[in-house]
């Protein structure tokens, strides 16, 4: 019965939205006259129009979630807020059952005015939300009790990879940049690599699409040779690709899953996981656009993804073969010499 009501509500909303969309957008524009200006309403009530316009929520318009009186803002009343569960009922129900629900509301982790799909959010941005409550150094210490190279794991994985039931992992490659030394202008050694912004890439590519930085032939997909060229090039000093293992869809049953204690959950080869990767390019609104990368790029021997390697999972087949040849070379002496030794044993009696 509850589900039937939800369907009816959705259909009703869709029909209304279709007819009212132009009005909603117009209304949103009106709201943004004030709320798009931080000086007018203050940082707490300000909304970045660029970021909001590219969210799914923008299609609803401000009135989709908020209702204000005719005298707003002079009436001094706070606008009403829709509950997230009104639309995201399944997620809300799932989240309510998790331990995390007692500690944080939806809005503590998600900004509805800058919400994007999982694939359009960087792993670092995901973790930034978690770090707002779970301090990174404390988490490194807590994980370090049992997890080898905890600091590295926390840096290379979104927390939700292990702490939700998310599945279907892929590897996302992000462009990072090391700040230049002000005096010399060259990338400052020792400085951390940070995610590069759309504007920073624009400065490099000029009028061209920023994808041209790696997608040299403009096919819309990234080949292994294009990755090698980018990684081996000295044309872009300070830029490096950082890979992160991210889930394709994030669940909200925040918990500690038993199978994540087993390292081979990630550190074992097989399946499509390590074959599928994307290049995530920053967009002006802070989200990311993904471009498909040729299958197997992560397994490339050296220059495909020079900084991304997962023990046991992304080993290179050619390297395995070369290692086998070397080991077999070590058996030549015992086997070959031993055989002749056996045949000539009478000579040494």
């Amino acid at each position: 019965m509850k589900r039937k009501k939800l369907y009816l509500w959705c259909i009703g909303w869709a029909v209304t939205a279709a007819f009212m969309a132009p009005l909603s957008v117009a209304a949103a524009e009106s709201c943004m006259d004030c709320h798009g200006d931080v000086d007018a309403v203050g940082a707490e009530l300000a909304i970045d129009p660029l970021r909001f316009d590219h969210t799914a929520h923008a299609d609803l318009g401000c009135s989709g979630c908020h209702a204000v009186g005719q005298d707003h803002p002079d009436d001094g009343l706070s606008p009403s807020r829709a509950a997230c569960g009104d639309c995201h009922q399944d997620i809300s129900d799932e989240y309510a059952l998790s331990e995390h629900a007692a500690g944080a509301t939806c809005g503590d982790c998600h900004n509805p005015h800058a919400a994007h799909n999982t694939g359009a959010v960087s792993g670092m941005d995901m973790n930034r939300q978690c770090a707002a409550c779970h301090a990174s150094d404390e988490m490194a210490t807590a994980h370090g009790v049992w997890l080898p190279q905890a600091e590295l794991h926390l840096e290379m994985l979104p927390c939700v990879s292990c702490h939700t039931g998310s599945e279907n992992y892929v590897i996302n490659l992000f462009i990072t940049k090391r700040p230049a030394d002000p005096a010399s202008g060259v990338p400052a050694r020792g400085e951390p690599f940070n995610l590069v912004t759309h504007e920073e890439l624009r400065e490099i590519t000029g009028d061209k699409d920023i994808a041209a930085l790696i997608d040299a032939n403009g096919t819309g997909t990234i080949s292994i040779s294009e990755l090698r060229r980018f990684n081996g090039s000295s044309e872009y000093p300070g830029l490096r690709l950082k890979g992160m293992l991210t889930p394709e869809s994030v669940t909200h049953n925040v918990q500690i899953l038993d199978n994540r204690w087993d390292c081979t959950f990630c550190h074992a080869s097989g399946g499509e996981t390590m074959q599928t990767s994307y290049l995530s390019l920053p967009q002006p609104d802070g989200s990311y656009r993904r471009m498909s990368v040729e299958k197997g790029a992560i397994l490339d021997v050296l220059n495909g993804t020079p900084d991304f390697y997962m023990m046991g999972a992304t080993r290179n087949a050619s390297m395995n073969l070369l290692g086998l040849v070397i080991i077999a070379g070590g058996l030549v002496m015992p086997v070959g010499h031993g055989f002749l030794r056996f045949l000539t044993r009478k000579n040494r009696r």
């Binding site: 097989g270 023990m311 058996l331 040494r348």
Partner: protein
């Protein structure tokens, strides 16, 4: 009285001092453990001798530290205490010009004909020219490099600058893996060559007791001459 005569009696010679033997067997245990745990780390679907993957990693790290410490012990002993590093491990001019070929001819030709080994080990000159050259490459190139790459791989986050300097994580992993394979290849040849004495244990026993039987050695060579 020479050091040789100090360490020799009528039938045997003290060839392997205690620190060297400790180093050798620590190395042996460490390297075998590294090989097996390393195989599980790289091929977890096929090798599972230590149970959980994490156990293999922790064991691999511990064995790596053991071998690196053992290497330091060896280096310190021969350089600072015994002061025989160069004499023992660096082939001299004569050995490079003639000794290498002489020893190779013995191993690959004269040995099968029952001819004697042209090299007679003494505490001052334990290794034949081929051994010297091999150990020089192993101990001064292979082991230090595999240890250094291993130390970097154990500490990727804190030593990131060095990792980047080496060309990235994959270069480091590839180098570590291939060097480890080379060490594994050496191990097979090393164990086999250790059985080339008069009896299969004749060269292995001294590495446990320190003493090598001279008469047996000469007896073997005498027998080989006939």
């Amino acid at each position: 009285m020479t050091e040789h005569s100090e360490h020799a009696n009528n039938s045997r010679i003290y060839l392997q001092p205690t620190p060297v033997r400790i180093w050798h067997w620590l190395n042996a245990i460490g390297i075998i453990t590294l090989g097996i745990s390393g195989a599980q780390i790289r091929f977890p679907e096929y090798v599972n001798l230590f149970g959980a993957y994490k156990s293999a990693i922790l064991l691999h790290n511990a064995a790596g530290i053991l071998v690196a410490a053992s290497f330091s012990l060896w280096f310190f002993y021969y350089t600072c205490i015994a002061r025989r590093m160069t004499a023992l491990y660096v082939p001299n001019k004569e050995e490079l010009q003639h000794g290498l070929l002489r020893q190779a001819i013995f191993y690959f030709f004269n040995y099968f004909r029952g001819k004697p080994n042209p090299h007679h080990p003494t505490p001052e000159n334990k290794f034949n020219p081929l051994q010297k050259s091999a150990y020089l490459a192993i101990m001064f190139v292979l082991v230090p490099l595999v240890s250094l790459t291993g130390i970097l791989l154990m500490n990727i986050a804190p030593l990131r600058e060095l990792v980047l300097l080496m060309g990235g994580l994959k270069v480091l992993v590839g180098l570590h893996f291939l060097l480890a394979c080379a060490l594994c290849a050496f191990l097979f040849s090393h164990v086999y060559l250790a059985t080339l004495g008069r009896t299969p244990m004749a060269y292995i026993k001294p590495m446990w007791t320190g003493w090598e039987e001279i008469e047996e050695l000469h007896g073997e060579e005498g027998a080989l001459k006939h």
